[in-house]
């Protein structure tokens, strides 16, 4: 039994140095607790312990990943940095896209909450990333949602997937953010651990960039948005129960749900309110409240500023009674922001908030001291150097070891698997692949997302990349895509991460845009497992090296560890998001063929026998082994340049990149999306199976108006890009006719491709 007073103040902590503190329950290791005592020269108060424990968690401190993530910075050249206005370390990366416009974008994970409570977990995931973007001074303009689930027909997937999709839609639709991309991937490894990643893109004028720092003595700290409640403080409730055992406000709440409920309407109003505040120049610094709530916001603002900060917790508007300082500091109540405001602007700030019916309260100010001081009932409950909380958390060099079994999986080549050989077997394989959960139409999901709102969406699903108009006058726009094939990463994490980047890059290029910057969400198993750490280290290196070769910087990202069920980690899943720019959105390239009469279909790039990690191996043999397709980044660059040139000169009327499922799937999709048949003739002497199902990287299927064919192929040849004529679009045909293989009516393909998800999920 403890004998702490009601308020565990700093003075109290000094006079009771030997009290047992539940630091282990809060996730701190013995040496970490010892370090806190060393930093403070005494034991921490409860409130301080709550702050350190959340801020030093893996999620907030990046303690296992930091040493590896440094490599992104080391491989970013000055030239790559040129257009980057904010990079790793800020709430989100910012890129100058010309004409005075800047774009900010970031990916983040909300995996575990979405497993516990799919709707709210996914909804608050979207809410969180949107606030990150707002904190940069930008207007959020679009979202995308890379999702991964267990097997499509598993009962638990029926619980998780519909909830997640409804949550992403419920929140994003209500905010008025068009959903312009994402992924839906099914794999056994995500059965107990779905991945819900969310991306948000924001736009601002370059001069409106806001960074999170609290400087200027006397500046006020204003907390605005929703009230602070008991949600999402899960772990910290052990403090309350320790302290006030048995008492109604303590032990009675011990089992607080760590799930937060989102209020998208509150967030929508908060967005408009923030934009008006920025516009009126009323904000010196701003920070969103996400994981770790006020602990994070106050310590990060103070740490990034040039002085100290004093906060009075009694001023924080609360939703629940009897909250302790530790609970207030750790609450993850959604839809809140924290601003640093010049005292002369406070009245104007409050006026804007009133107009939007947003609760706003001055909770403290910037001081010329060095510490973050937090008061509660006139007692000092936190007195810490903010950097020690926010930026000087523990750093681990976790053991890294390539597991011996990696050789076994690599040796288990997919080339020996039984292949379809007769035309009947090939026909059946094409249909079976098109209907398989990972290749079938995503419309059941994407139909639940508003892609039209605000009237600037130029391409969204089912295009390779989403394209958004930024400037109505000039037609300037951006493109985004997110990708990752975790099966490739499992076979070779270094190459797999590069392939993820290559695909996202190619997807952006396929729309006619130029890739300019990268974000990521690195989803991995436990960092305490040396084999997982090896995957992580390899993936980071692969991604960083590839970014350097392509000349586009990583501007930010997110790490999610501990994605595993029991001892079994998920497949390493480094989701990569690429941002591109397009100077004139009217030249965006659609995915479906048939826009012009009798287009020629050309396959750009080279096809090799590459089946390791392929969707074909999974669907027909449930096999994962061998090596992934070869990466050729110079080829990816050349492809992007050729597509760009072709789109500028009106030489390309449709394009679709090849990825999972290879050429067969690309043909199926481009025909169905364009509602146009095609006659396909593969080059003389090739193996139709390899040509149809190999997943060689660096390939794009393009449709070229007949009149442009010669000019376009001459350009490809002159620049050293291999190409092959594979057929013609044929609007009259209403079938996909692959010579000597199969002639499949579009209606039959459509039924296969579109039927799967509705059958599974209603």
């Amino acid at each position: 039994m403890t004998n702490l007073a009601k308020v565990d103040s700093v003075d109290h902590a000094k006079s009771t140095p030997d009290v047992d503190q539940p630091f282990r329950e809060l996730g701190l290791k013995d040496d970490e607790y010892a370090r806190i005592r060393e930093i403070l020269g005494r034991r921490p108060t409860e409130a301080e312990l709550a702050m350190y424990s959340v801020m030093w968690s893996e999620h907030c401190s990046y303690k296992s990943s930091k040493v590896h993530l440094k490599y992104f910075g080391e491989t970013t050249t000055d030239e790559m940095r040129e257009k980057m206005l904010a990079g790793i370390g800020e709430n989100a990366g910012v890129v100058d896209i010309g004409d005075g416009w800047a774009v900010t974008f970031k990916l983040e994970s909300h995996n575990h909450p979405s497993y516990v409570e799919p709707y709210q977990g996914a909804a608050t995931g979207v809410g969180g990333i949107v606030r990150d973007i707002m904190a940069m001074g930008a207007r959020p303009v679009a979202v995308a949602d890379p999702l991964r689930f267990g097997p499509a027909d598993a009962p638990d997937t029926k619980r998780v997937l519909p909830g997640v999709v409804a949550g992403v839609g419920g929140y994003g639709n209500c905010l008025g953010l068009p959903n312009i991309g994402g992924e839906v991937v099914f794999d056994e490894c995500y059965a107990g651990n779905p991945l819900v990643n969310a991306m948000c893109v924001g736009v601002m004028k370059v001069e409106d960039l806001h960074l999170a720092h609290a400087s200027g003595k006397g500046n006020k700290i204003i907390l605005f948005g929703a009230r602070t409640g008991l949600d999402g403080i899960g772990g910290v409730s052990v403090l309350a129960s320790e302290t006030f055992d048995g008492d109604e406000s303590g032990g009675g709440r011990k089992k607080l749900p760590s799930v937060q409920v989102g209020d998208p309407f509150a967030e929508k109003v908060l967005i408009e309110c923030c934009l008006e505040l920025y516009h009126a120049g009323l904000v010196v610094g701003i920070q969103d409240l996400g994981g770790a709530g006020l602990s994070c916001a106050t310590s990060e603002l103070a740490s990034a500023g040039d002085g100290g900060m004093r906060v009075d917790l009694d001023q924080v508007p609360l939703r629940a009674t009897g909250m302790t300082p530790a609970e207030i500091l750790s609450s993850e109540s959604q839809e809140r922001m924290c601003a640093v405001v010049d005292p002369s602007n406070v009245d104007a700030f409050m006026e804007v908030c009133r107009r939007w019916d947003v609760t706003a309260t001055v909770i403290g100010e910037v001081t010329d001291g060095e510490n973050l001081e937090i008061f509660w009932h006139d007692e000092l409950v936190v007195d810490v150097p903010p950097r020690t909380v926010a930026h000087q958390g523990p750093v681990y060099e976790r053991p890294v070891e390539r597991p011996a079994e990696q050789d076994l999986i690599v040796a288990d080549s997919a080339n020996t698997l039984a292949r379809p050989s007769t035309s009947d077997e090939l026909r059946e394989t094409i249909l079976r692949m098109a209907a398989s959960p990972n290749l079938c139409s995503r419309a059941w999901v994407t139909d639940q997302y508003d892609r039209y709102v605000r009237g600037n969406t130029v391409l969204a699903q089912p295009s390779d990349g989403g394209v958004l108009r930024i400037d109505e006058e000039t037609g300037r726009g951006i493109a985004v895509a997110t990708d990752c094939n975790a099966r490739y990463t499992r076979l070779d994490p270094y190459a797999g991460a590069q392939l993820a980047l290559a695909e996202a890059y190619r997807n952006v290029a396929t729309t006619g845009a130029t890739p300019v910057a990268v974000t990521n969400c690195l989803n991995f198993g436990s960092p305490e497992d040396p084999a997982v750490m090896w995957q992580f280290q390899q993936a980071v290196r692969g991604l960083a090296d590839a970014c350097q070769e392509l000349g586009i910087p990583v501007t930010g990202g997110n790490v999610s560890f501990y994605n595993q069920t029991g001892a079994k980690p998920i497949l390493p899943t480094p989701v990569v998001g690429v941002l591109g720019t397009i100077d004139d959105v009217t030249r965006r390239i659609p995915t479906g063929i048939g826009g012009e009469e009798g287009e020629t279909l050309l396959l750009l790039g080279e096809t090799h026998e590459e089946l390791g990690g392929s969707e074909w191996a999974r669907v027909t043999h449930d096999h994962l082994g061998g090596v992934p397709p070869k990466v050729d980044l110079a080829r990816e660059k050349l492809l992007a340049e050729i597509v760009l040139a072709g789109s500028r000169d009106g030489m390309i009327s449709a394009a679709h990149d090849l990825s999972e499922g290879g050429l067969a799937q690309a043909l199926v999709e481009t025909a169905l999306i364009g509602e146009c048949g095609a006659r396909v003739v593969l080059p003389e002497g090739v193996d139709p199976f390899v040509w149809l199902f190999s997943e060689s990287a660096g390939r794009i299927l393009v449709a070229v108006p007949r009149t442009e064919e010669l000019r376009f192929t001459d350009m490809c040849s002159a620049r050293g890009l291999p190409w092959a004529k594979v057929g013609v679009a044929d609007a009259g045909a209403q079938s996909l006719d692959i010579q000597d293989v199969a002639d499949i009516p579009l209606a039959e393909l459509r039924e296969a491709w579109e039927g799967t998800l509705p059958k599974l999920f209603g």
């Binding site: 409804a166 839609g169 419920g170 639709n173 209500c174 008025g176 209020d263 998208p264 309407f265 509150a266 929508k268 109003v269 408009e272 939007w356 019916d357 419309a443 994407t446 139909d447 639940q448 997302y449 508003d450 892609r451 039209y452 709102v453 605000r454 009237g455 600037n456 969406t457 130029v458 108009r469 959105v585 009217t586 209603g762």
Partner: protein, 225 residues
């Protein structure tokens, strides 16, 4: 001088920028109306756009109908001012009593965003004269509660008086009674519809420009008046 069309913004309205853009594209002047306004700033017609006014938490449109600006809109509409409610705006006009019936949860229980074929049933309302009767339009829908419900007598009356503006062609996306996608009041001045004409004004950003006709029609009506 071009006609002035007001576009109402409630907290939570989303498609106001699109509606304003559509008005301008059609040649009108768009005027922003704020939910707390007590006057209509001299506009000649009003669009109540889509979105999630007040979060749509209680029931779509239930709270928005009490906004000060709606008092003005209702009064002006009763005097004959053309008013168009799209999606959430349609729900608000029903809740306000300007149009009969109510929009309930989609039969499939999911929010649906897709390009939808519509058949023009009435081309004599203030908002539909630019269309041919029986024409088919391709316009986006995006809603979770677009299932139009009214009792049989009301439905019969709507049909009998030719007040069904649009019907869903092909598959009914939300279970609406008699495939109703849009209706008008008895004078053909107040219109409500679930599909979004303001998202179909340019094939660059929508499936077609089939929606522009709504805005051109009302401008015709205002000039003729």
């Amino acid at each position: 001088m071009s006609a002035k069309i007001g576009v109402v913004t409630f907290p939570g309205t989303l498609d106001d920028v699109d509606a304003a853009r559509a008005v301008r594209r059609a040649g009108g002047e768009s005027v922003a109306l704020w939910h707390a306004d007590h006057d209509l700033k001299g506009v000649d017609a009003v669009v109540v756009p889509g979105g999630f006014s007040y979060g749509d938490y209680l029931r779509c449109g239930a709270i928005a109908k009490f906004a000060p600006v709606m008092t003005e809109v209702v009064e002006a509409a009763r005097k004959g001012m053309p008013v168009l409610g799209v999606c959430n705006g349609f729900q608000i006009l029903c809740e306000s009593g300007l149009l009969p019936g109510v929009l309930t949860r989609n039969a499939g229980l999911h929010y649906v965003c897709r390009d939808q074929w519509l058949k023009v049933e009435n081309n004599s309302s203030a908002w539909t004269t630019r269309y041919d009767a029986g024409a088919e339009l391709l316009i986006p829908i995006k809603h979770g509660e677009g299932n139009y419900v009214a009792d049989e007598a009301v439905l019969d009356e709507l049909e009998g008086e030719g007040r069904v503006l649009f019907r869903y062609a092909g598959e009914n996306p939300n279970g609406s009674r008699r495939d109703i996608a849009g209706i008008t009041d008895a004078r053909g001045r107040v219109a409500g519809m679930m599909p979004h004409p303001e998202h179909a004004i340019d094939p660059l950003t929508g499936p077609t420009d089939d929606g522009l006709g709504m805005f051109l029609s009302v401008l015709d009506a205002l000039v003729a008046a």
